[in-house]
Every structure is written in structure tokens, then in C-alpha cells.
């Protein structure tokens, strides 16, 4: 979340929450090791940033192949037509097919919450969901929260409260928090938030700051979903 990279080559560090850059940094360094001798690393990262195709364009797989099912998923407001095998898991389709790698695979069996995202505004574990079952559904991932460079209040609160260490569970934590803060049936006291967030495990133990971030975001959520 706190990735900084030199966005325009000017030497001025900019922050772009849409494109956490560690993954791209590793990808870039791997792919361009031959070219690395001829250009500084930061320039290549900047170049990769410019070339990065934001996953905001509709995808259309065309006619389904043998054994595939055609489904429509509206992900972060973009409608995709995808062909998937019946056993394709929603989490894997988002990460591997749509390259929306913000949603994390932790335990992959519904126990850790790292894969939490919103389906039709309801938080679920995407690792225990067949993609084909979600034909026609509206999906919101961590990539869909910010408005351009403007962070969602929950994202901003996690940043402000340092509500993570390694960051692997963070997108799941944030998605759960967004759902909880939009759910009137869940109490606003600390105990209710702890209970409602108990499906998101943080191995680093950042719970204290996560709770503080969620409660801080509560007051800033009016008019934001």
C-alpha cells in the first residue's frame, strides 16, 4: 500500500494506489534483466508503468471452447465475457485471467479471508466460489475501491493507521471492512467490529491498528460505498 515509484521520470516520487508496484518491480526486473545494463532500474519501472494496461477494458473471449462455460462478470464496473471451465474458481479467474492480483490467495480453503471481495455488495470468500456460479454478478475487488488517485476512506484509514505489516491480508481486510461499514445490522462498537472481522486472519497480528482504521473510516464513509 505504501509503494512509491517514480511515475514520470522527474525524480519526484508519486503514489499510485491503483498499481501497488512490488509485483511489477519483480516482474520488470525479471523480464528486463538483459536490458538492465543499459538503463537505470527506475526508468524501466516507469516505462513499465506507462505500458501497464489497466484492467479496465472489457474482455470478450468469444465463443466458448469444448468443456467451457461462457459467463458475464461485471468487475469494478467493467463487463467481461469470459469462457471458463466448470471447476474454475472465482479467485483464480480474477487473478489469472483478468490480472486483478489485488485479491490474494491465502489458505485457499475459506479459512483466512485473504480472498474476500464483494459480490453484489456482499463480502464472500472468493476461493470457495465457482466462477460459473457468478454468471451475471457484480464484483468489486480492492482495485475497484479507489476513485483514480483518491483512496477509498477505508484504504486511506489503513494507510494512516499503519494497519498492516506484510500486507498480504490487507486487501481482504479492507474489503471486509467496507462491507461491514455499509451494513447497518452490524454494531459500531469495537467488539462488534472485531467479531464481524474475525474471518480475516492477520498473521502479523496488526489487529489493533486494523480496528483503529476501521473505526476511523466509519466517520468518513457517508456517501461512499
Amino acid at each position: 500500500m505504501s509503494d512509491h515509484h517514480k511515475g514520470d521520470g522527474s525524480g519526484v516520487e508519486t503514489f499510485d494506489a491503483r498499481f501497488p508496484s512490488r509485483r511489477r518491480f519483480l516482474k520488470t526486473m525479471g523480464a528486463s534483466s538483459l536490458a538492465a545494463a543499459t538503463a537505470p532500474a527506475w526508468a524501466q519501472i516507469a516505462q513499465a508503468g506507462q505500458q501497464h494496461k489497466a484492467p479496465t477494458e472489457p474482455r470478450d473471449d468469444g465463443a466458448p471452447g469444448k468443456g467451457e462455460q461462457q459467463i458475464q462478470l461485471t468487475v469494478n464496473g467493467v463487463a467481461h465475457t469470459l469462457n471458463v471451465k466448470p471447476n474454475a474458481v472465482l479467485l483464480d479467474v480474477l487473478r489469472d485471467r483478468l490480472e486483478l492480483t489485488g485479491t490474494k490467495k491465502g489458505c485457499d480453503q475459506g479459512q483466512c479471508g485473504a480472498c474476500t471481495l464483494l459480490v453484489n455488495d456482499t463480502a464472500i470468500n472468493s476461493c470457495l466460489s465457482l466462477a460459473v456460479s457468478h454468471d451475471g454478478d457484480k464484483i468489486t475487488t480492492i482495485e475497484g475501491l479507489s476513485n483514480g488517485d483518491d483512496l477509498h476512506p477505508v484504504q486511506a484509514a489503513f494507510w494512516a493507521h499503519d494497519a498492516y505489516q506484510c500486507g498480504y491480508c490487507t486487501s481482504g481486510q479492507i474489503m471486509s471492512a467496507v462491507a461491514i461499514l455499509n451494513d447497518d445490522s452490524i454494531g459500531s462498537d469495537d467488539a462488534s467490529v472485531r467479531e464481524a472481522m474475525s474471518g480475516n486472519i492477520c498473521r502479523c497480528g496488526a489487529y489493533k491498528n486494523i480496528l483503529a482504521a476501521v473505526q476511523d473510516a466509519r466517520g468518513k464513509m457517508q456517501g461512499v460505498s
Partner: protein
């Protein structure tokens, strides 16, 4: 995850017809049990019938006062429903004590009824387990049998607890399970739905091959009753019960006029304690009465190497629940 054929059903009849009587077919609702177990290769369907588009999402009050719950009503929706919160508080509380927010948002009423045991020897895929591999033995009996292993209803072939909280509340309330199958529709009494392991622990429920749960219908709430679910566990959230109790009582002054008691975490099925109820009915609501009923409830319990503590813990789950419930003002809000 292994490959399987997939079909999406538009009606219960179509679902049943697609499923057929094959033991290699499986209905898919929330997926929190099925996909978990397919991923670790414990369940191996070659045909998955997706029932999520069936019109089974309603909670209805019937003319006779019973409450009919569609198979696909999620655990969250059921727990938050006004009538459930007000008239069946024990069920709402039991639901909210189970799993996590995300899982409850996916998990369905029928799926919760059908969930499988959490015994690690069942899930590991290699140990002896008569549920997974009939005739192979039960590694839990001589193994680590502390948290998800029962003291009531066990056999020499299986000692795994039924993991559901929801089902414990339903056992106390009283319910019927409506099913549709190749031979048509029928209803099964909730207390007959889950089977004791006996000498065939691979048979877990009374469904015939291909039968689909369409509804669970709760008995009408006991008039002027109060109810509560108490779950005792190793941590405060997101943990299966070591012992739990679902209790419903009616009082006339300080005399118990009606009582329903069911237990979780201690039995191989959702455990209705009829004898304990008989020991409460007509008695004064005192700790001595509760203690006697609790002892009766756990009579015949069989402790294993690491779970003998569940016998006093199960008793305490009953005593404490009754103490709290009878001491407080009427909890019903309607």
C-alpha cells in the same frame, strides 16, 4: 481442483433429474463445504448441479404458525430476519456464533444442515476414517480427540461431532426437512434427519440418493417462551463448539412449564436432550434443578483420552444457559 461436469438447474425438479441417483453427483449451494472438500480431494463429484438459481430464498410464516425457510436462505439472511430474531432468538444467536461473516454470507440453510464433520482424520485424506473409507477404522478413537470429537452418540466406528450450531438450535425448536427426490416430495422430522454413526458412519443423513432439500420448516414458536444459545469454545470467535446448548423455556412465576434443550459440540449429531427437558418441566427454576437436568443430559456419555472434559463442560453449558435465561426479563421483543 478435480474436473467435473456442471449444470445449472432452474427448478427443483430439473435439479433432481440432472442429479439422478448417482453417488458421484453433488448439489452446489453456497459451496463452503462442497468446494472446500473437493479442493482437498475428500469429495469427488463427477457431476455438480448448481442450485443457486432456484427460487428457494423465502422465509414465510405459515397459517399454522410454523416458519418455512427456503433451502437457499443464507445463514446471514436467516440470522438477521426479524421473525427469527424475535420469535426464534436461539436460532439467530446460533447462526451468528458460527463461522465468519463472509462464510455466513455464502452458506445456506440446506447446506448448513448438510455440512460434513471437521474431524482432522476425515479431512487429511490418509488416516483411517470410516466415513471417508468405510471399513478402514477410526484414527480419532486412539488419536487426538479433544475438540471436534463427541462423548454422546459415538460408536467404535466414528466419534466425530456434528459441527453445526444452526442445527442444534433447530433440534431444540423442532422442525421438518422438506425434500424433493426421484420419488417425489416428502418430509423428514429434523431429529431423524442426521444419523448416529453406528456401524455405518458413511451414512450421515436420511436423504435417499438424489434427494434435494427444498425447505426447513420450524415448529411454531412456543408461546411466551424465551430462548438462548450458549457456545463454549477455545477462542471467542470463529471456532467450533467444545460444548454448546440451545435452550427454550416458558415460565409461570419461577416454575418451568416447558423446556427444550439441545446440545452441540458433544454429540455425533445435533443432540436433543429429551430426558433433561422432562427433569426441568414442572420444577422450580433453581440451580439444583438445572444441575440435575444437566447430569441427566450427559448420562451415558463416553469419554475418550482427550475429551473427558466435555462431560462437565456440556453440563455447565446447560446450567449456565438456564441460569441466565430464567433470571432475565422476557427477552422477546414482539
Amino acid at each position: 481442483m478435480r474436473e467435473f461436469d456442471y449444470a445449472r438447474a432452474d427448478s427443483p425438479r430439473q435439479a433432481v433429474s440432472t442429479h439422478g441417483e448417482s453417488e458421484q453427483a453433488a448439489y452446489l449451494a453456497g459451496g463452503t463445504t462442497l468446494l472446500d472438500l473437493v479442493k482437498i480431494d475428500i469429495m469427488r463429484p463427477d457431476q455438480v448441479v448448481d442450485i443457486n438459481r432456484l427460487d428457494l430464498n423465502e422465509i414465510e410464516t405459515l397459517d399454522d404458525g410454523r416458519t418455512r425457510i427456503g433451502a437457499l436462505v443464507t445463514n446471514t439472511a436467516l440470522a438477521r430476519h426479524d421473525r427469527i430474531k424475535n420469535e426464534y432468538a436461539v436460532l439467530s444467536e446460533a447462526l451468528l456464533s458460527g463461522a465468519t461473516t463472509q462464510l455466513r454470507n455464502k452458506a445456506t440453510t440446506a447446506g448448513n444442515v448438510m455440512q460434513r464433520v471437521r474431524c482432522p482424520y476425515f479431512r487429511d485424506g490418509v488416516s483411517s476414517c470410516n466415513k471417508r473409507e468405510p471399513g478402514s477404522g477410526c484414527a480419532a478413537i486412539e488419536g487426538h480427540n479433544r475438540s471436534v470429537h463427541a462423548v454422546l452418540g459415538t460408536s467404535e466406528h466414528c466419534i466425530a461431532t456434528h459441527p453445526s450450531d444452526m442445527c442444534v438450535a433447530m433440534a431444540a425448536i423442532g422442525a421438518t426437512v422438506a425434500v424433493e427426490g426421484p420419488d417425489g416430495q416428502r418430509e423428514i422430522d429434523f431429529l431423524d434427519f442426521h444419523l448416529l454413526p453406528g456401524d455405518a458412519p458413511e451414512r450421515e443423513h436420511a436423504l435417499k440418493p438424489g434427494e434435494l432439500i427444498t425447505h426447513v420448516t420450524l415448529d411454531a414458536p412456543l408461546e411466551n417462551s424465551r430462548s438462548r444459545y450458549l457456545k463454549l469454545r477455545d477462542r471467542a470467535s470463529y471456532q467450533f463448539a467444545l460444548a454448546s446448548s440451545a435452550v427454550i423455556v416458558t415460565l409461570d412465576g419461577d416454575t418451568i412449564t416447558e423446556a427444550r434443550v439441545a446440545l452441540g459440540g458433544v454429540g455425533t449429531k445435533p443432540w436433543r436432550a429429551h430426558e433433561a427437558e422432562a427433569a426441568l418441566k414442572g420444577q422450580k427454576a433453581t440451580e439444583a434443578t438445572f444441575q440435575k437436568a444437566a447430569e441427566i443430559a450427559m448420562q451415558g456419555a463416553t469419554p475418550y483420552a482427550h475429551n473427558a472434559f466435555k462431560i462437565p463442560l456440556g453440563q455447565q453449558a446447560i446450567v449456565r444457559n438456564l441460569t441466565t435465561l430464567t433470571a432475565q426479563e422476557d427477552r422477546r421483543t414482539s
